[in-house]
Subunit: 358 residues, 2 copies
């Protein structure tokens, strides 16, 4: 397996024994683990909610599973806490944010507060964030902006895991795109959060651990041939062939250029435990209210219902982006989340300060 | 074939006899045809260049082939000329544009001039355009913004041709996305211009005319099964499965909301000859110079070369978005473009005012 696709020590297997953890218990443990690692109380709460959202929405790769690596980075001094980001309005509508190596969720939260406030008067505001750690899922960030009656776009770069179309080497991040649009129903904004990779690294690692072959289209070997054996996988494929590659590359360049951060193999800090963070995040907010535009304008809710009802199979409605995550979130909030025993014991160990990752 | 996929009288076949037309000759004919249809001289030049760019860049579906339909819409009074768009700065950075049924290329040109000028002082400017006709390829528009040292994003909606993932009916436009990013080399900005459909309507019509089967993944029949017989094709598939659908839908909602235009089957005016235009265009410009960001910052040119050189097959470099169009444009500018005899004769007929489309 290519270096980029190796596990960095985090547990990945979905086949391991699973425990159901009530949300309040998981939240408390995450906060305690972060505080015991030296994170300020208020920042620990924000970062814990960010990880929690990954598990709540059914994307455990962005959930509690990420805690051990984050704590290790904190112990190594790569992540700071209690150091407020430097936020500079370069122009009235463009905010430059130096995260000063702060927690991703914390810096993003502050940047988003700033641009949301600003967009209420200017109509539009853009935040360009560098030196902040992993931002977690984009969905909660853009959803928060949309709840203020604004259209939101979020982009973030990450370690090179994806090969260019026709190539063999991992030279692009999974470069996700988040878009939220108010629909006029506060509890149901439209929320897109998608990676430009065909599949997550976590799913490839999971297949490797379980000895399962990879479906064609997930990854390539060092000759650029679809890798069915996880051991030969060198890089994840972009989704949708050349167009997915094109989109991922555009996002890589756009974020790097606006945040003055790195591209390709020079992006570090969200998967490793040793490198300073060199990725960037971009957030855009456009206030519909300020522009005098009615939310949900061209009957967005009716249109989304029309789409849902247009399925080829009446038993299975068309899924609108965000539908699956919304259902998962409701169920998990009520019933708790399913974590592998290994992940949950890792969180508890860090929360109880028995043992250490360093 | 589904209604949405039918030809509206425009010639589509690539199998017909082909003629090579020098660019000055095609330009002159396009301008004359537009002027004779009643378009003001300066507007005719802008619109002709826009059509020309489609052919020059190797996308004839956005080229001279579109002239007859455009002229017919002009004759029917659906397209106006000499009526300047109403442009209102709702805030310092957000421009609302009512195209007043003007030519797409003309309205876009003016809107882009406005936001480019504005972004030079505000850093960022957004144009939300309604009631303008077909905008043509997005590439020339975003490229023009990027030539001013700015990052550009363009989005536009169009008639419903694409089915939602899991659906059967054409309920989304092909909703293309244009992104241009300065690289520090004025003659080679990064330019992405991609539709969110798996394939263009033109290619499906072309296969139908030539009696060729459709490759799976291009379209579905009325049961949602991949259509290999063009006669059973009901809707074009989104590229990249559920993610391509998600992206296309996000763009549909985003444009409709910002421009206060229509969604889904209520979008008209770029393929038919009878309906008032109800699609929208969005353009965003971010001035790197104003933000104090060096163009081509994280060695974008070097990175793009690294990508090009990372091909699995050394004989075939990885294609960067825009590469193919750039080469085609140079060749066609020098050698002329290949048009089907039918298209070229249609243009000449309109230019010479022999015959009429109405």
């Amino acid at each position: 397996m290519g270096v980029a696709l190796r596990s960095y020590g985090e547990p990945v297997s979905a086949s391991a024994a699973v425990v159901t953890v009530p949300i309040p218990q998981l939240r408390t443990a995450l906060v305690r683990a972060l505080v015991r690692a030296g994170v300020a109380e208020d920042e620990a709460h924000l970062q814990a909610e960010n990880l929690l959202e990954g598990d709540l929405r059914g994307h455990p790769s962005h959930g509690a599973r990420r805690l051990p690596l984050l704590v290790e980075r904190i112990h190594r001094g790569l992540v700071t806490s209690g150091v407020p980001p430097t936020m500079t309005w370069t122009t009235e509508s463009v905010l430059e944010v130096d995260g000063r190596d702060g927690l991703g969720a914390v810096v993003a939260h502050q940047a988003i507060d700033e641009i949301s406030d600003r967009a209420r008067s200017t109509g539009i505001a853009l935040a360009c964030v560098r030196k902040a750690h992993h931002v977690g899922m984009l969905a909660p960030h853009v959803e928060r902006i949309a709840q203020g009656g604004m259209i939101a776009i979020a982009m973030t770069t990450s370690e090179a895991l994806v090969h260019p179309w026709g190539g063999t080497k991992a030279l692009l991040g999974t470069n996700p795109l988040g878009i939220a649009i108010p629909t006029g129903r506060a509890d149901a904004p439209f929320v897109l959060d998608m990676s430009t990779a065909a599949v997550s690294r976590g799913r490839i690692l999971d297949h490797a651990e379980r000895g399962l072959p990879l479906p064609p289209g997930w990854a390539v070997d060092d000759e650029g041939t679809p890798a069915t054996d996880p051991a030969t996988a060198q890089a994840i494929s972009p989704f949708g062939g050349p167009k997915g590659f094109a989109l991922g590359l555009a996002l890589e360049l756009l974020v790097a250029q606006l945040t003055q951060t790195e591209v390709g193999a020079r992006v570090h800090g969200t998967l490793d435990a040793t490198e300073p963070v060199t990725k960037g995040d971009v957030f855009l907010a456009v206030s519909l209210e300020r522009l005098g535009i009615a939310m949900g304008g061209p009957d967005i809710l009716g249109y989304l219902e029309e789409l849902r009802g247009s399925s080829a199979d009446p038993a299975t409605p068309v899924l609108i982006p965000g539908d699956r995550a919304r259902v998962a979130r409701e169920r998990h909030t009520r019933d708790g989340v399913h974590l592998s025993r290994e992940v949950w014991e890792g969180v508890r160990r860090l929360a109880d300060r028995k043992g250490s990752t360093t």
